[in-house]
Symmetry: C2
Subunit: 464 residues, 2 copies
């Protein structure tokens, strides 16, 4: 994208209403605009990141064998009366009457509706196991929405539901979700630690929250510092392998890691003192096993192998997709702006032309742009007349992890500058080498997508 | 996808509530489930098609230089009071009060909100031209929702808005939308004819609707039969070229083609009699130029080259994405089920194993599945124990355009059967040749995506 043709309304001043850094930077970088309390438009740069996160969640859920569908935003109140949650849910549920006076609501979650879909279409244990999920806008009418997209009223969330014949199968689904979530967050460049949690209004026995450590987190968390050393990495996972999923679950949850809701001081004190940590964390996901809590009252049963009707064992599993945009920024920024991890950056590489209108500089920028595009990357080329300092400030603010700076002086020596946003370090390279280096950096991220296909080999010379 | 692991709840019986063929087949093929009047869940097969259409719309809009963002589903009533439409809109607008008693609404369209985004962020003619669009769920509280997703209450729509300094520039935006829409529909395998239309509550001078001819269409249409011979095809389009876009607009709109709302009997009778046609049509998109209708009352002005503030010239442009799913089925089906065009089919090719459990048949199916996947295609393999007749009936109902049938008898002769859903014709080919043929069929559709990258050359032998 050429900046002259894009819509990137950056702000020079800090907006007064923003109390935390992600909210401030999202407003300043032209990612969002508030339309009502807790309701945001996602401007082009913000939408691009949101869509990237959505795609990663889709890819990792489908890799785990989970099946996407899409439930509507509005639901009939009758369904919630069946489960008994219509009256229980409180004022956070946005209640609506349609033109015929029928009671509707804007879905805050979908246990009831997915159970309704299941019971209408599945009747035999032979159709299990089954995990369905969707990524859809939801609404919770928070009394005091704040912190931008971190606690918005209209928010974008992945929620998935497993249906299994036995508790054992349902716990495998639980483990499968835990593993797929770890992989999802790692692809996004985040470390999210599974912590034993409280089940709250969803109910159930087993539940873990995933927390990203950040000073601005809403939860107090307590953990064994060794937990932050564990990574899933590139290990090969077979999501059908119950033992493997169970082992990974145990590996990631054996060490003490809890939120204040479930914190146990006595257990915590058994950790060697030098590894005891308390910090703040942002919740970016949660998994639940809740057995037959919804299937029993709502009649979601299947015929078992013995011919008897049994209620299915269920769980639900959520990732806060819009909230993650804020959480990533909370975890990855400096005083100049956002620092996007490579896996989620809206553009892979910035191109700054130090002298727009200079024939050699313009031509080199065009070639670099074309070469990055040819390897499947998406550069943002600042081709405006803005002075160099302004161009750098914008690139730093919007947080692209890599920047190639092109100027007539460097070109005379055959070099451009490749700069890391995170370290601030620059190296001088030929335009060809700079493109090759950026392509190499992103190659593992491209390959992380199950839809990645090796491209035809082309020499870097032909691109440039 | 292996059918044994998918969620495809097909119905044998015709659902009583469905009056038109698309609604009937979408229910029978397990694409949708009604959750409330005019509100549907998109089950996995339906969601897959919806997402494909969404992606094609995104690709073609971005190819035309239009910039995606995402506005929320809920809006503040205040914005609509500014434009004067809050009271005008009538009962189709779903009005909501939040917990603080504030007036909200579920957006039926977004002229007000996009104008608000524009005026908050753009102040100079130098930032024009600008076209922003989004694809988002909308709500119109139809008094009698019917025909499934064709006239739902909650529906998925692309709406785009252009902001230009002059009427001339805005008319170029209008033409650019017309051309990009033609390309969008053609990629979906549809012919949608632009017809002069009535502007209705959006207002404005220039407007065309895009209509797909189908017996069940809600509009009566009148046209010169020669209009159905024009195709955009693979011609090279430069969306910055005003003359080229204007010429294509004229080419597609010069011949008589109107809906009953704007039909002119006298003009119609000037068409040579043998080319006069009246038929039914389904509206799948509409483009508007409405000048300063919203920018003036809402203060969306820019500083022009002469330093004076001028209201911008605007237009809005919509494609009914969820409705298109129904429209495509109305235009492309037979008495056995849906016939998906290659560009939008949920799976590219069905694989039917005539004898599940036969070692040779199972192995051949696995190889064909892997080979299709390796060329970037997405097959649906019916690996269930269902008898052959049932497998064929399901494949015909869900409408995959190509099917490879594998059985022990054919394999003994080294062949499988490749069948066209549209013509019903079958040919016997080696498994290798069948895969190669399917790959060739889809190659132009893969290349039609701007994100397509040529894959590394691999011999068909190594895939199999």
């Amino acid at each position: 994208m050429r900046l002259s043709r894009y819509f990137l309304p950056v702000l020079k001043e800090n907006p007064a209403e923003a109390q935390i850094v992600s909210h401030r930077y999202m407003l300043r970088a032209g990612m969002i605009k508030q339309q009502a309390a807790g309701i945001y438009s996602w401007l082009p740069l913000g939408f691009k990141v949101l869509r990237k996160l959505e795609n990663i969640v889709h890819e990792e859920q489908q890799r785990a064998g989970h099946i996407p569908l899409l439930m509507p935003t509005l639901q009939s109140a009758d369904l919630w009366r069946e489960s008994g949650r219509y009256d229980d849910y409180g004022e956070e549920m946005l209640r609506i009457k349609d033109r015929h006076g029928r009671d509707m609501l804007y879905g805050p979650t979908n246990e009831e509706m997915i159970t309704d879909i299941f019971r209408a279409n599945v009747s035999s244990y032979k159709d299990l196991p089954l995990t369905l999920y969707h990524i859809q806008w939801k609404f919770r009418d928070e009394i005091r929405p704040r912190f931008g997209v971190m606690r918005g009223r209209e928010f974008f969330m992945k929620d998935g539901y497993n249906f299994d014949l036995t508790k054992e199968d349902a716990l495998h689904a639980y483990n499968r979700h835990l593993v797929s979530y770890l992989r999802t967050y790692e692809r996004m460049g985040m470390q999210a630690i599974p912590m034993r949690a409280d089940s709250g209004p969803i109910g159930g026995d087993d539940t873990h929250e995933f927390l990203v450590l950040a000073d601005t987190g809403e939860s107090e968390v307590f953990y064994d510092s060794a937990v932050t050393d564990i990574r899933l990495g590139a290990r090969d996972i077979n999501y059908d392998d119950k033992a493997q999923c169970q082992a990974i679950m145990e590996e990631f949850t054996a060490l003490y890691a809890r939120t204040d809701e479930t914190h146990d001081e006595a257990l915590f004190n058994q950790i060697p003192e030098e590894r005891r940590r308390s910090a703040r964390g942002i919740e970016v996901g949660q998994i639940f096993y809740f057995g037959t809590k919804y299937s029993e009252p709502m009649g979601a049963t299947v015929q078992g192998p013995d011919g008897k009707q049994v209620p299915v064992h269920m769980g639900s599993h959520g990732i806060g997709v819009s909230r993650l945009v804020g959480a990533i920024i909370e975890a990855s920024h400096d005083d100049k702006g956002i620092i996007w991890p490579e896996g989620v950056t809206p553009f892979h590489c910035g191109i700054v032309n130090l002298k727009q209108g200079d024939e050699a500089a313009d031509a080199a920028c065009d070639k670099i742009y074309a070469a990055l595009t040819a390897v499947g990357l998406d550069p943002l080329y600042d081709d405006t007349q803005e002075r160099a300092g302004g161009k750098f400030a914008t690139m730093d603010l919007i947080g692209l992890p890599w920047r190639i700076t092109v100027g007539p002086r460097g070109l005379k020596n055959g070099v451009v500058e490749l700069t890391s946003r995170r370290s601030g370090e620059s190296v001088e390279l030929s335009p060809e080498e700079a493109v090759k280096k950026v392509a190499e950096i992103y190659r593992p991220h491209q390959e992380a997508s199950p839809h990645w296909q090796p491209m035809a080999e082309r020499s870097f010379h032909t691109w440039l």
